[in-house]
């Protein structure tokens, strides 16, 4: 399945990119499996598994782990620091 991944703020610097589209194996059905998959390819992705990281799936802030479907956009967000 095809997933668009976004890295926000400090995670963008850490991952060295802001967005990528991945064609994932069918065994990956949620965000937890996705981060494990990403970490296997790039140790820097360990940061995505930190408990403080929040997820935005298709323009909605969601709890972890979240189920993924083809066509989804999933953004990894460091803790928010607005205001």
């Amino acid at each position: 399945m095809k997933i668009t991944i976004r890295y926000m703020a400090a995670l963008r610097d850490r991952m060295g990119q802001s967005e990528c589209v991945l064609d994932l194996p069918d065994t990956i059905t949620d965000s937890a499996a996705l981060t494990a998959h990403l970490r296997a390819a790039d140790p820097a992705a360990e940061a995505l598994e930190h408990p403080s990281i929040r997820l935005i799936r298709n323009d909605e802030i969601v709890a972890k782990p979240v189920a993924l479907e083809t066509g989804d956009t999933l953004a990894f967000c460091p803790p928010f620091t607005g205001g």
Partner: protein, 157 residues
């Protein structure tokens, strides 16, 4: 039904004008409270830059304002947040609430500013004379938000 106004914009925020829209707007309101957050000068700090998640940010702020309006029976709630680059002393965020009684307006304002720090997708980057870095989330902000979540939950119970 409360009137909710949420704006995210890269333009400077006209706090006084926004306050005047609430004050004197509605004779059913006894009180209007506001909070203005601005870039505080710190040693070496040159400017602040705010990134956000367009669309999601506005939804999150609307949810916070709506929740404040429901909880404190507000007549109006305003959240206006700036994004992009801001110089020292410039306004980052303006929050205001009007209500029949003063305590409701003041508490709702404190709630909105506390919640938006932890629940809306903004990220601060500081530009200093030595370089740039992202701001880390502060425990005190999480505790402030948790205070409201706990308080409101126990009042519901």
């Amino acid at each position: 039904m409360a009137r909710i106004t949420v704006t995210v914009s890269s333009f400077p925020i006209a706090c006084g004008d926004l306050l005047d829209r609430l004050a004197g707007d509605d004779a059913d309101c006894g009180g209007v409270a506001s909070f203005t957050g601005q870039v505080r000068a710190e040693p070496g700090l040159v400017a602040l830059e705010l990134e956000h998640y367009p669309g999601v940010t506005e939804d999150a702020l609307t949810r916070i304002a709506r929740s404040a309006a429901d909880q404190w029976s507000l007549h109006q709630a305003i959240i206006h947040h700036r994004v992009g680059r801001m110089e020292l002393g410039e306004v980052i965020v303006f929050v205001a609430a009007s209500a029949p009684h003063r305590r409701a307006a003041l508490d709702a304002t404190a709630y909105m500013i506390d919640m938006l720090k932890t629940d809306a997708p903004f990220w601060k980057r500081v530009h200093t004379q030595a370089g740039s870095h992202w701001v880390e989330a502060r425990d005190t902000d999480r505790e402030a938000a948790a205070f409201w979540t706990d308080t409101l939950a126990s009042e519901d119970a």
